[in-house]
């Protein structure tokens, strides 16, 4: 029974000690129950220290400085890239492009594919109804600009990707298919293999929004077979201000630059410029130096625990939460109701109580969840709700915390008299 084995070696209490914020007391001296990790993750002391130490002892600009501090900062910055590449199984470190967040990375891909003429009049881009706004708006923008058409997969009543239409959706006209790996609202894990195979069979490129996947499941981009994979540092125990675009090297090498400026050039005259090879070509200006150091420390932390173990814990805690929460009368989970092909974000409604009011009452008990549309308005519309409350879990979440959540939900119902 490997599941039991790994849960005995997985010591959540020990892990929690590394996260200073989990010891926070809130208003009323209540302990913090942080169930908002799909929004942003907390940071272990190791990450906080790596960033502080970088600024205090090794800070310099990178690439262009030849002095000792510059060499230290450059080595530390590029080591972060090496760690990212190894963590996601990238065949080459030069396939790892830094952006400011996942949103910029998705915009980068959409813009340069448009600028390169790979999306044009009559072409189609296919997304899904369960995307985060950051994987919708850039494709609306590029299809509008280029005269292409935006199409999308629907979502079944169970919150799964509706694959019935796949053959009419993905056709010879399709140039790009962009979809999320794990839905940040429904929690659904999508069957990427099916979509990637179909997209590649018609010659379309596949962009995977792995913002919710890389934090909670082992990722191997080479095995996945997509063309671009995007994620964000702050959901992965890392700092804000850094996102990652992984792209197939041959593709990156063909594409025109995104932002222009320092560091992304080969040579510049007033009349014209030539551009550096990837990843530099896509990284204009001073890069997220301390953020790469911090992200590297986050990856070290996760790797030491083992992503298999992180995934197993996420799975176990989500199953526990789904069970306990669905015993509450009037609570409806929006998204898959069992912990099968499912990540650790559980969105729900509570009859007669608006999600704002739910989350406010939970907060009054120290339970931090998110209420609103979770940047997924179309997915909410699909289920006929304007907003939901979402509890989301991570490697530091305990069953006791879920119990506090459930107790607080009962309290909420009583408070609003429903």
């Amino acid at each position: 029974m490997t599941a039991v084995e790994s849960s005995t070696t997985y010591d959540v209490a020990r892990i929690r000690e590394d996260f200073p914020i989990l010891g926070r007391r809130l208003s009323g001296d209540l302990p913090l129950v942080y169930l908002d990790s799909a929004n942003t993750s907390q940071k272990p002391q190791q990450v906080v220290d790596a960033i502080a130490d970088h600024y205090a002892q090794h800070n310099a600009n990178v690439a262009r400085a030849m002095h000792q501090l510059g060499a230290e900062a450059t080595a530390a910055f590029e080591l972060g890239r090496d760690k990212v590449a190894a963590f996601i199984g990238a065949p080459s470190r030069d396939e790892v492009v830094y952006a400011k967040n996942a949103s910029e990375a998705l915009n980068l891909v959409a813009r340069v594919l448009g600028d390169a003429g790979r999306i044009g009049p009559g072409d189609e881009v296919v997304i899904t109804e369960m995307e985060h706004h950051s994987n919708i708006v850039p494709w609306q923008q590029v299809t509008q600009r280029t005269g292409a058409t935006l199409r999308w997969f629907g979502v079944t009543d169970e919150g799964r990707l509706d694959l019935d239409d796949i053959d009419t959706l993905i056709t010879e006209r399709t140039k790009v298919v962009s979809l999320t790996w794990v839905s940040n609202m429904l929690g659904t894990i999508n069957p990427l293999d099916v979509v990637i195979a179909k997209a590649h069979s018609v010659g379309a490129l596949v962009v995977v929004d792995a913002s919710q996947a890389v934090p909670q499941i082992p990722v191997d981009v080479a095995a996945l077979g997509a063309d671009f994979v995007v994620f964000t540092g702050h959901k992965l125990l890392g700092p804000t201000g850094i996102g990652v675009l992984w792209g197939r090297y041959d593709l990156l090498a063909e594409l025109p630059p995104f932002l222009g400026g320092g560091e992304m050039i080969e040579t510049v005259t007033m009349e014209r410029s030539t551009y550096a090879a990837p990843p530099s070509r896509f990284e204009a200006g001073t890069p997220p130096i301390a953020q790469s150091v911090g992200l590297g420390a986050a990856i070290d932390y996760l790797s030491a625990i083992g992503m298999q173990n992180v995934a197993a814990h996420e799975q176990a805690i989500t199953a526990y939460a789904l069970g306990a929460m669905q015993e509450i009368d009037g609570l409806t989970v929006v998204g898959p109701k069992e912990a099968v092909m499912r990540g650790g974000a559980v969105s729900f409604t509570l009859d007669g109580i608006h999600p704002h009011d739910v989350s406010q009452l939970l907060d009054s008990r120290g339970v931090a969840v998110r209420a609103g549309h979770h940047c997924a308005k179309p997915a909410h519309l699909r289920f006929g709700v304007q907003s939901t409350t979402r509890a989301s879990f991570y490697l530091y979440t305990t069953e006791q915390e879920i119990d506090v959540l459930v107790e607080a939900l009962h309290h909420t119902k009583k408070y609003f008299g429903s």
Binding site: S27, G28, H354, P355, H356, D357, Q360, L361, D363, S364, A371, G372, H373, K377, H380, Q386, S387, Y415, F416
Partner: protein, 158 residues
């Protein structure tokens, strides 16, 4: 920060039994406002009779705070002059943005003083202001409409 100071009885009453809810005719302006953070929405119409706000009708979808606040707005504004209404708006806005340090004037705000507690919950201030911002917008549009055309004429200004 006690959650009971947020959910005053008065607020929950307005939430459960909103005053003046529903969209009515006639009206000179209709606006649709959204709180982009959470998706709360309000469609709001204003009917002016000369200088007087003779109706504020609305359809709101949102949390208790946003719904109660537009209900209180209806109480406070309908039947007043535009200038008086604007003064009430200013005083309500001042209360909301006062971080809990502004003493509300019951003579001006009536049931609106129940929102004093909201000011201590920064994330909820936008909820409380949603309907009021919509009203401000609608009134300015209505004033433009009524100054540029026969004030008696009403209709659907889409």
């Amino acid at each position: 920060m006690n959650v009971d100071s947020l959910y005053q009885e008065i607020i929950l009453d307005h939430y459960k039994h909103p005053h003046g809810s529903g969209l009515r005719e006639p009206f000179e302006a209709e606006v649709h406002h959204v709180n982009p953070t959470c998706g709360d929405e309000v469609t709001l119409r204003v009917h002016l009779d000369g200088e007087t706000v003779s109706d504020v009708s609305y359809a709101a979808e949102g949390c208790s705070i946003s719904q109660a606040s537009v209900s209180v707005l209806n109480d406070l504004i309908v039947g007043r002059s535009v200038d008086e209404g604007m003064a009430v708006l200013d005083s309500f806005t001042e209360l909301m943005q006062g971080k809990g340090k502004v003493e509300p004037d019951e003579d001006v705000l009536e049931d609106g003083i129940a929102f004093a507690g909201v000011a201590q919950f920064p994330a909820r201030v936008k909820c409380a202001l949603l309907g009021w911002m919509a009203w401000k917008d609608a009134v300015s549009q209505a004033l433009v409409t009524s100054s540029s055309s026969d004030p008696a004429i009403t209709g659907d200004p889409t």
